[in-house]
């Protein structure tokens, strides 16, 4: 603890280059663009008023929240199962599981979306397989609707949920569970009362990551949604690219950013965000 403040001075020097770079080349340009939301078409908060008055915007926000909510819930539950299994199998099987997860990284999101179209479409492999074994008579509509979008998004997000949960579960000592069982609890009870609460940080981390990322999803809904599923990010793109209504686009972007910050602020009241963002 000797010379603490002196030390800190030299450590701030380590931080400085990255921060300066980020402020000058990222934050400044970003603010420059977001500033447009209050200057175009006229100076003031006219664009933001639309948040309250435009019912179509309400619908888009609702769709976004709905799709992202379902995706997050499904992803975290499925991710937990995989992470739990990974934490409880032998090294070799764990490695095999990790392989499957890491390999999917190399499929770009565009290619993945097209692969899902091939699997899910009316005359796609899944429908054909189901009809072949006689499970269904007529093909199901699996893509170009919300179902398809959610399948594609969950697929994309799964590794994002598995890894933080797995990191957390690995840190939980088996002796707690063993102790609970020794005290007469059943396997499931031990899991529910002891293990699950201990894995809460991992679950929260996964939930936040998945939710924040899914807010920005665009390509998967565009390809698998068949134009039916319009989320905020798609609307931002249209306003940016097509109609050049940058005031509106930047207003929605700032709102999205602000929403994420608000969410993080609320969550940080209940959990230690340091752990969520990597310092677990």
């Amino acid at each position: 603890m000797i010379g603490r403040s002196l030390n800190h001075g030299s450590y701030w020097v380590l931080i400085a280059p990255a921060v300066v770079l980020m402020v000058v080349f990222y934050v400044f340009p970003l603010l420059q663009v977001l500033w447009i939301s209050v200057t175009e078409p006229t100076f003031g908060f006219g664009n933001y008023e639309e948040l309250f008055t435009n019912s179509f915007l309400h619908r888009i926000w609702r769709t976004t929240a709905f799709i992202c909510g379902i995706t997050t819930a499904l992803t975290v539950v499925l991710g937990y199962v995989v992470a739990y299994a990974m934490a409880h199998v032998r090294e070799q099987q764990m490695t095999a599981m990790m392989f499957c997860i890491l390999l999917t990284f190399w499929l770009s999101v565009l290619i993945r979306a097209f692969a899902w179209v091939m699997l899910l479409r009316t005359e796609g492999m899944i429908n054909n397989a189901l009809m072949f074994i006689g499970a269904i008579d007529d093909p199901l509509r699996l893509s170009r609707n919300q179902f398809g979008v959610i399948v594609g998004m969950v697929h994309f997000m799964l590794p994002l949920a598995i890894l933080p949960i797995y990191a957390n579960l690995r840190g939980i000592s088996q002796s707690y569970v063993a102790a609970a069982r020794g005290l007469g609890g059943s396997g499931f009870q031990a899991f529910r009362m002891i293990y699950l609460p201990l894995s809460k940080p991992g679950i929260i981390a996964a939930t936040i990551l998945v939710f924040v990322f899914s807010l920005g999803f665009f390509i998967t809904p565009a390809i698998l949604g068949g134009g039916r599923v319009v989320m905020v990010s798609e609307y931002i793109r249209v306003a940016f690219e097509e109609t050049l209504l940058w005031g509106k686009a930047t207003m929605l972007s700032s709102t999205l950013l602000f929403g994420v910050f608000l969410l993080l602020a609320i969550v940080s009241r209940f959990v230690n965000l340091r752990r969520v963002f990597g310092a677990t």
């Binding site: 000797i2 739990y84 924040v212 993080l264």
Partner: protein, 269 residues
């Protein structure tokens, strides 16, 4: 009785986990046959299998130079992001005050900003700086985008590193830079490495910002893939994806093999 139920439960969980992993791998399984299609668009082979799309990748100047450009850009951005991100993470970790926590949260900004907004913001500023369509411009943008991931992974490994070790080194008279080079960095090498892998793959795959800040001189691999999809769902992209998967698989297996050998050597000792 509890044991039996546990075993049953175990089987259930394992079965379910492998089903989910199967779901994860499914698109990859589709991509491979697609890359062998005899058609000129993304589809399953219809009459015969064809290696044509692989040949196209390896013989076409356009695809090869795109791969080369992506490689250069990803390498440079990775080096820059790893150095800056690691120093930043170490600084924040060592200071560990409210202010430094805020700084670290701030460094995560590029993860949160919607990409189209980010792309336009950078594009406008890059025009002013006259660095649109240059290697420097793309590398700078990718460095900024990659820094957060390095900060996250390095912070994670610093969390398990005892602050007192660093203090001991300092008290023994080592300078800040000596301490970092000789004490801290070796300890957090796994975190730095995984940060580097992150950074590399992100840069290698990034497209939206590239589409904005480049023009006719810089053509990265994702930009080519994008064009391939817009053109006619060119199956070459399936071939590229398959090749990337194979390379990853080889790297993973090599790593596994090296680790096994290391463990064996240690056991013999």
């Amino acid at each position: 009785m509890t044991e039996a139920r546990l075993t049953f439960g175990r089987c259930m969980v394992l079965g379910l986990a492998w089903t989910i992993l199967g779901f994860l791998v499914l698109p990859m399984v589709v991509i491979f046959p697609v890359s062998l299609t005899d058609q000129y668009y993304l589809s399953l082979p219809q009459e015969s299998l064809s290696l044509e799309h692989y040949v196209k990748f390896f013989t076409n100047e356009i695809w090869l130079s795109a791969t080369g450009q992506s490689f250069i850009i990803a390498t440079c951005s990775t080096i820059a992001a790893v150095i800056l991100g690691t120093l930043c993470a170490i600084g924040c970790w060592r200071i560990s005050s409210r202010a430094s926590e805020a700084v670290r949260a701030f460094m995560l900004l590029p993860i949160i900003v919607p990409t189209v907004v980010q792309a336009l913001a950078l594009y406008r500023f890059w025009i002013d700086l006259r660095i649109v369509d240059t290697y420097f411009g793309v590398i700078l943008a990718h460095t900024l985008i990659c820094i957060p991931y390095v900060v996250i992974t390095v912070s994670a490994s610093l969390a398990n590193f005892d602050l007192r070790v660093e203090q001991a080194a300092r008290n023994l008279g080592a300078s800040v830079s000596q301490t970092i080079r000789m004490v801290v960095v070796p300890q957090i090498m796994p975190g730095i490495l995984s940060g580097a892998i992150f950074a590399f793959t992100i840069s290698f795959d990034e497209i939206v910002t590239v589409l904005f800040i480049t023009s006719r001189h810089i053509y990265t691999l994702p930009k080519r893939i994008w064009n391939g999809i817009q053109d006619h769902l060119d199956p070459t992209i399936a071939a590229v994806a398959t090749l990337l998967i194979v390379v990853t698989l080889l790297l993973l297996l090599a790593e596994l093999w090296l680790r096994k050998r290391r463990d064996a050597a240690r056991a013999n000792r």
